[in-house]
Symmetry: C2
Subunit: 248 residues, 2 copies
DNA sequence: TCGCGCGCTTGATCTGGGTCAATGAAACCC
DNA sequence: GGGTTTCATTGACCCAGATCAAGCGCGCGA
């Protein structure tokens, strides 16, 4: 249901090859022109840190292609991923001058950026951008809280199934392919990154993926290419009470 | 540091006996008058559910006194608390018509409410309210993500220490008392509620509290009255890397 | 072509926290 | 004052997932 809303509000910019949800929803031509002037692209290599936790951040932007992660790390090295940035996701917080998290590219990443000051100026003169950002932030808050349930109360198997269903769902909504029959996608994360997302060790992730494969919930081709023959079965394994929204 | 900001921006309404952070920060007299017209109070008893997950919600508001919790529950009864509402915290999401969580009063609660439609109208004509809400939502998002680290990577002992330090901090900033020497506060939650917040069982919560007491990190008078002789020691137990902001 | 490294899998063992169960101790209400 | 309810503590035992360790397979650079 969240995804439907997002899709309905998104907008393909001609110059920005991907919907930049923050600014393009309901945007007008003169606003787009003003955005042109302050827009630029940045490229990052796989493994590169886009923003260091605590660093000053002079831009906002969104992911055009590739995958990035938000992570928090304790002094002793324990790390927890707190967000996954897929194409069209927004990065940066107007009104704040730093990021409390490390933002790391897990694949090669292209970002469409706006310098922060002009973007904030534009925000204050264009009310719908502030509203859109509020909406998006509420979406992120919902996602974060749903993840708290995953982290706090689900078993390892349920955690893996939850992650797979989220990735499958996002991938499907991104590619807008008809979602009947099997879902097929590539895992954008290493086993270790999945472990950091789920609060597990990489060994447990590996074992549970093997178990889901053995039980026919998923099929694996190589280490990353996943086929989900029955999505509702996967949701069931995840302990989710709903039908998954998207498939309605 | 977050708390300092909040305090700086908050504003005591004469009629609303507590700072209503969403609307009172930087508000002007004519705005306050318009708010008067749509404001009303609601009382809830301890244990009462304020909003059921999925229910239509026709108001927004903030807690004046008492404590409420946001919780998610799976069909089999496992529950995870995803937020704690203390006095001055905001409830409701402009632009959304329902809550994805149960909101439950854990003590008697008084809320200061605004009917949603007029509030949203006011929001669209008063830009600073939208900005303030965005700021507050970003704060909540930060808190949720910090909590993801607690849930995913901390040990039971660290989890308890984290919760105690958060409550101590919020309590101190609420009561604005000089924070030198020992911190003293009452736990607003049962052991079970703490367990639901921390992704533990109530037995483990009890055991770890006993352990912290035995080790001199906290002192207990009865079951709820806590004294923290050395706050930085508590933060250390929580695995937090900082000094706690407030104490600077 | 080899070997090296990285990502991944699998096995063996250990342990933190869950589960089950008994008991304590306030508060409250006839 | 005694019974009931609710909340909390403590003990004994168990198990899911962590930890430690070995090995596999594939891509890549020399």
């Amino acid at each position: 249901m969240l995804n439907e809303e997002k899709t309905a509000l998104s907008h393909e910019c001609e110059d920005c090859p991907i919907r930049h949800r923050a600014v393009c929803a309901r945007c007008e031509t003169d606003e787009l022109e003003r955005l042109e002037e302050i827009k630029y692209y940045r490229n990052f290599e796989a493994g590169q840190t886009i923003i260091w936790s605590g660093d000053r951040m002079d831009f906002v932007g969104s992911v055009v292609s590739g995958i990035a992660t938000l992570t928090q790390t304790m002094e002793d090295g324990r790390t927890q991923m707190v967000g996954l940035l897929l194409p069209s996701d927004f990065v940066g917080r107007p009104g704040r001058d730093g990021s409390p998290y490390d933002v790391v590219a897990t694949t090669d990443v292209v970002m469409c950026c706006f310098r922060k000051r002009p973007f904030e100026d534009m925000m204050s003169t264009t009310p719908h951008i502030a509203h859109r950002l509020l909406e998006m932030t509420l979406d992120e808050l919902d996602a974060a809280r749903e993840w708290m349930l995953v982290l706090g109360r689900k078993t390892a198997r349920e955690k893996i199934a939850s992650l797979l269903s989220i990735i499958a769902r996002r991938d499907a909504s991104l590619n807008l392919r008809p979602t009947q029959g099997a879902l097929v996608f590539d895992l954008p994360l290493t086993r270790e990154a999945m472990a950091d997302y789920l609060g597990l060790t990489l060994e447990t992730v590996s074992r549970q993926i093997s178990a889901l494969k053995r039980d026919g919930v998923i099929e694996l081709e190589g280490k990353r290419h996943v086929t989900v023959p029955d999505f509702s079965r996967l949701l069931d394994e995840a302990g989710d009470d709903s039908d998954g929204g998207m498939l309605v």
